[in-house]
Symmetry: C2
Subunit: 165 residues, 2 copies
């Protein structure tokens, strides 16, 4: 595999059988670095979400059984999200996720990190919801902008050496 | 609706479209009492699971963002389960659930309590997993025995006045 085979734009897929969104994206980093970018709140707010929003953490306890809440904001207002961490492992995070604008909708998020060797790591993210309508609503919301702008910021943090393993 | 219309045996259904198990069961109690039977660990261990197992709590923090772990045991050994509480509301609990024998499998559980009036409450429980194979495995595991024996014990606790609202 050459560098040109790396997925440096997120692949976002709708599962045909179950109401799941899958995201696959490669990073020039170790699995531990990519994991840390998802568990360290000071790092997380520097990359998560689209460029048009700033993120801040309300509370954050990234361990099995912990919980989290963060807020995205722009000049028009705030968008808050919260959930709990079911599992924070060495190469896997399982957590719940709710946008507080629609609190009845809860998704179960699984992040898995695969070591590709040569200093690259493949991120596999899965979001499971309880209906196809809800899943398709997320896909039609323009989520790919936030996903790709966010991961590009994470590329930048990794490249400048800001993410220790 | 007469008392004979009450669902005093659990209705366990497999959703045809998504990998969900739904359980519906009526209790002669208020929604607050049924909720308390699910949040108070001392009550929970008195009714949860089949008659052949005894339950004990390892840790239990039934609030939004909390987490839990309990252990069923018999003369053959122990069966441990854990998860986190995404939301503990007045008539809804959303939590994750894992049997530690298969820790890669995580379900998202939603409990909703509907006041039927006349002192009866309908419990709606939904278990969402990420594959039909996993969902059908649960259905074929004999889960209806534990569900119905457990709810019969909860009927007993409610009937003897052990569950305050």
């Amino acid at each position: 595999m050459t560098t040109t085979d790396r997925l440096t734009t997120a692949v976002i897929e709708a599962d045909p059988e179950v109401p799941i969104i899958r995201i696959t994206r490669d990073f020039r980093a170790t699995p531990a670095q990519v994991l840390r970018a998802h568990t360290d709140p000071e790092l997380f707010v520097r990359w998560n979400g689209p460029d048009s929003l700033t993120a801040r953490v309300d509370y954050w306890d990234a361990r099995t059984g912990g919980s989290w809440r963060f807020v995205h904001s722009d000049e028009n207002g705030e968008y808050a999200f919260h959930g709990c961490f079911h599992e924070v492992g060495e190469d896997r995070i399982v957590q719940t996720f709710t946008w507080e604008g629609m609190p009845e909708h809860v998704s179960l998020e699984t992040l898995r990190l695969e070591d590709l060797g040569d200093g690259w790591t493949r991120l596999h993210a899965q979001s499971l919801v309880d209906s196809f309508e809800g899943r398709n609503g997320w896909l039609e919301s323009g989520m790919e902008v936030g996903v790709n702008e966010g991961y590009a910021k994470l590329d930048g943090l990794l490249g400048e050496g800001s993410v220790q393993a």
